[in-house]
């Protein structure tokens, strides 16, 4: 757990460093505005990076460090329009801490947390959750199948 927490903090600093000084927004058109919202939403889409199967019967919790990035062509173009040498905003970095817990009734609860963290002129935060249910016990299926309802709030500043 301590190792995951340490890697989490280092990941935040490393991922924000290149991105933070790179964003520039001005003269947003309605099309740009929609695309920028889509790019931030794609970056913060709730995922546990997990397969359809639930946690094993002898496991109650899973704790994960999730890192990644997402495309941000519009943010990149807008930032480059302000500073032609700026290529830092072509993708948005991502980092989050995920906890998964076994619940009764063949459910798993997921909670993803990125406390609003300020570093290198950029701040990002997310709180999202999901309930995942698998009918595997009730049907003899050749595949693991699950349905997951998710929702959350995120902020970039």
């Amino acid at each position: 757990m301590k190792n995951i927490a340490s890697i989490f903090l280092i990941s935040i600093l490393l991922t924000f460093k290149a991105f933070g000084s790179g964003i520039g927004l001005s003269s947003l058109t309605k099309s740009d505005f929609k695309k920028v919202n889509e790019e931030f939403a794609a970056n913060k889409k709730h995922t546990a990076v997990s397969a359809a199967s639930l946690l094993a019967d002898d496991k109650k919790f899973e704790v994960s460090l999730i890192i990644g990035s997402s495309q941000s062509h519009t943010l990149g173009e807008l930032s480059k329009a302000q500073d032609s040498s700026n290529d830092n905003a072509q993708s948005i970095p991502y980092v989050g801490l995920m906890g998964i817990m076994t619940l009764p009734k063949d459910l798993n609860a997921e909670l993803l947390v990125l406390p609003v963290t300020h570093a290198y002129g950029f701040a990002s935060g997310q709180l999202s959750g999901a309930l995942k249910w698998s009918p595997k016990k009730y049907f003899d299926l050749p595949l693991n199948v699950a349905a997951k309802a998710f929702g959350g709030f995120s902020q970039n500043k």
Binding site: E38, A42, T47, S53, L65, G68, S70, N144, F150
Partner: protein, 105 residues
């Protein structure tokens, strides 16, 4: 996100539903997620310089609601006490790549 006269905050509330399919082969479980997603996004500028062009009614805060389909493919490697996963997907035609390292207890 800020520069000389711009201080921008972007907030998003997102919710949706995924259907997941996977099959485990020894220690590896590849998977496919298909889903629908909706986002309510707001961008607010508290700086003195406007960030929106003249087509907007406000120069300081605008909101929009967008919805679409999403998919992801990935794989989990179950190495006893530790799991490692990678995932590639698209949301609103924007691709993302995420990786995880996890422990279970």
């Amino acid at each position: 996100m800020s520069s000389a006269n711009v201080d921008v905050t972007s907030n998003q509330i997102t919710y949706g539903l995924d259907v997941q399919f996977s099959k485990k082969f020894l220690m590896v479980e590849p998977y496919l997620n298909l889903g629908a997603i909706q986002t309510h996004g707001t961008i607010k500028n508290t700086g003195s310089a406007p960030i929106f062009d003249s087509s907007f009614s406000s120069s300081n805060e605008e909101s929009t609601t967008i919805s679409g389909l999403t998919y992801a493919v990935g794989a989990e490697l179950d190495a006893w006490l530790m799991k490692v996963g990678v995932e590639y997907g698209q949301v609103y035609r924007n691709s993302f790549m995420k990786a995880k390292i996890s422990t279970q207890f």
